[in-house]
């Protein structure tokens, strides 16, 4: 048995070494860097160990707090809507058999586009004077004189809407795969027992689908919390910092200021938050038997 275990370790050793070097090392480096005052390109700023002071500064940084709040609002709103729409789409896909492949192919289009291109395209569509989206809203009497991207509330809504457009299909496809993998017997029994459609969904389909739901949520939460590209292209974080997300702020700290120490501390905090959310989801997944 011992020999088998050793052999097993031997086989996974190359993959483990690779994983440690490409995932473990950067994380350790990030943690170390976050305790330094370190500007990558400014020789006037000496590289010095500052302990936890970068973290102390962050907690008092109103911009960091505001961008974190923006990220939380963006992530929770986008994920909830994507989940509801995704479930609806998945159920529709499950019900139809004719042309299903075509629908799936069409669903893939938004998520195959580069987020930066998606951002640029939607930026033009939201343009108050020339954009088709603003034009349609205006024609429908839903848009007044204030441009969508000028009002802080509607600007954030635009970012959320774009994310929903791009990523609902992913949610739908994962849930659809989950629906396809469900066993047939319980549903046949429910039918014999005279369960209604809603009862079947509530007491059978959804509970059995929970592992797929958790996987979809896990992937999307981790992804949405790191949103950068579409915000960068659509609003650049404006008006003011109304749509600036935590990762856009980090990007600016890293690539405008090259303030690596402070930026690393910020990334560590964001990483920790995402990790906690993911661990909670994993626990739920385990409890529901999907782990």
């Amino acid at each position: 048995m011992m020999r088998r275990t050793k052999k097993g370790w031997l086989f996974i050793a190359p993959a483990l070494i690779l994983l440690i070097s490409i995932v473990g090392y950067p994380i350790v480096y990030l943690l170390v860097t976050s305790t330094y005052q370190y500007n990558y390109i400014n020789p006037a700023v000496p590289r010095e160990f500052v302990g936890l002071s970068n973290y102390g500064r962050l907690i008092q940084d109103s911009r960091f707090l505001q961008t974190s709040l923006n990220t939380a609002i963006f992530t929770s709103s986008a994920i909830v809507i994507e989940f509801i729409l995704g479930l609806l789409l998945a159920t529709l896909l499950f019900k139809v058999s004719r042309g299903r492949r075509t629908y799936i192919a069409l669903l893939l289009i938004p998520m195959l586009m580069m987020p930066i291109a998606v951002g640029l395209t939607w930026r033009f569509m939201y343009n108050h004077e020339y954009g088709i989206f603003s034009y349609l809203l205006r024609e429908a009497g839903l848009l007044g004189e204030t441009a969508l991207l000028v009002n802080p509330h509607t600007a954030l809504l635009c970012i959320i809407f774009t994310d929903i457009w791009e990523w609902t299909p992913l949610m739908a496809l994962i849930l659809f795969a989950g629906l396809m993998a469900l066993p047939l017997e319980p549903f046949e029994k429910a039918k014999i027992d005279g369960a209604s459609g809603w009862q079947t969904f509530r007491h059978l389909t959804f509970p059995l689908l929970i592992p797929s739901v958790m996987v979809a949520l896990l992937i999307r939460i981790a992804d949405a919390a790191r949103v950068l590209d579409i915000v960068y292209r659509i609003t650049g974080g404006g008006p003011g910092i109304a749509t600036e997300t935590a990762h856009l702020f980090s990007y600016k700290i890293f690539f405008k200021s090259f303030n690596v120490g402070y930026g690393s501390a910020q990334i560590v905090i964001l990483l920790a938050i995402i990790l906690v959310v993911c661990v909670i989801l994993f626990k739920v997944l385990e409890r529901t038997g999907g782990g």
């Binding site: 006037a44 004077e129 650049g236 404006g238 405008k256 200021s257």
Partner: protein, 425 residues
Amino acid sequence: MKEMRGVAPIMIGLVIILAIVVAAGVWYATRPSAKKVEINFLISPVPSIEKLVDTIPEFEAETGIDVTVTKVSYDDMCEKAALDVKSKTGTYTVFWVEPAHLGRLVGLEGLEPLEPLAERLDVDLTDFPQSYLNNFSYEGVLYAFPFESCLMVMAYRTDLFDELDLSVPTTWEDYKEAAIALDESGKVSSGTSIMGARHEALFCEYCNFLWGFGGSLFDETGYPSINTPEAVEALEFLKSLLPYAPAGTLTYTWTESGTAFIVGDIGTEIIFSDWTADMVNPETSGVIGKWAYAPIPGTGPTFFGGYGWAINAYASDEEKEAAFRFANWATSAEMQRRLIELGLTPTRISVMEDPELIAEYFYLSAYAETMDRAQPVMKIPVYFELMDSITMHLNAALSGIEDIQSALNSAQSEWEEIMSAADLI
């Protein structure tokens, strides 16, 4: 052992393929033609540069130097240049630099001083105005060949000014009155346009107003002074133009604002002169024969957005010399005469003052009137941080998220913090 017999030929085959690939790579890199000098030119595409790029084969044929062009967005270009000189790899040989970029790149010892090379290669730089050479110098050392003046000027619709009997504004109050009259005439979608997005463009535009109202970014000791009464007045004035600008103007960068003018939707606006290429191009312009430039109202300094070609200090000596020849060729009087047709704002005295060209290209006289007032915004290593901070607050103030005084106060505190951390104050 039996299993190994099946795997061994595959492994040997893979090793042979790998060896062939490596050998081919080594041969490719060391083949005789690869020993030609190669330079890598990092740019962000604008019409005049695109045209310059089209003519590069002529330079290659003439000199035997290979020129690779890397085109990226403006923001990416700034990042790549900084990372390249920091890593000392010399990946890019020729950089696009603006006076505001010099502080960061020179601070990293990443740019090659030009004068020693000019002396060695016997190149005369006196055809460039001294003020331009100063703009591209840092602490008295010249680092870039001025390629494009890229001045900020006032563009206006001559047809509508004539029709509405408006005179060309010379003061800010005149400018606002013209914007109101144009807006109310209904002959254009909006009287004026502002580059109001949270973007570098807003900072460039605001500087003209700030300086025009007597304010400045720094006081005489170099300390930030961006929340003075003059700065507040300038921003209040800029905000007062919003009702006469497109509703989406606070999402406009130079791209949207310039485009709105060239399609004929705007009566007058402050614009970068490198838009001339699109204004004179029948394929892109809806205002041909209906527009002109004039100096920005007032008598204060105006924003100098010029850019030039600098050489990477971490390139090899051979590459530096080739890069110098290329930059000299790209900014030669002959090249400027060719590019002027596309709207290039020339940087050589012999071209700027050529009476034939002045007679042929009507916009050159506005350039000449503006040139003396144009000044670079700042040349310090933390330009990008300062710019990001102030554009965020300017945009918030114009959007009504912050009031003007507190927005400028916040920007002032952030500038103090950034400059203090960089040991600049």
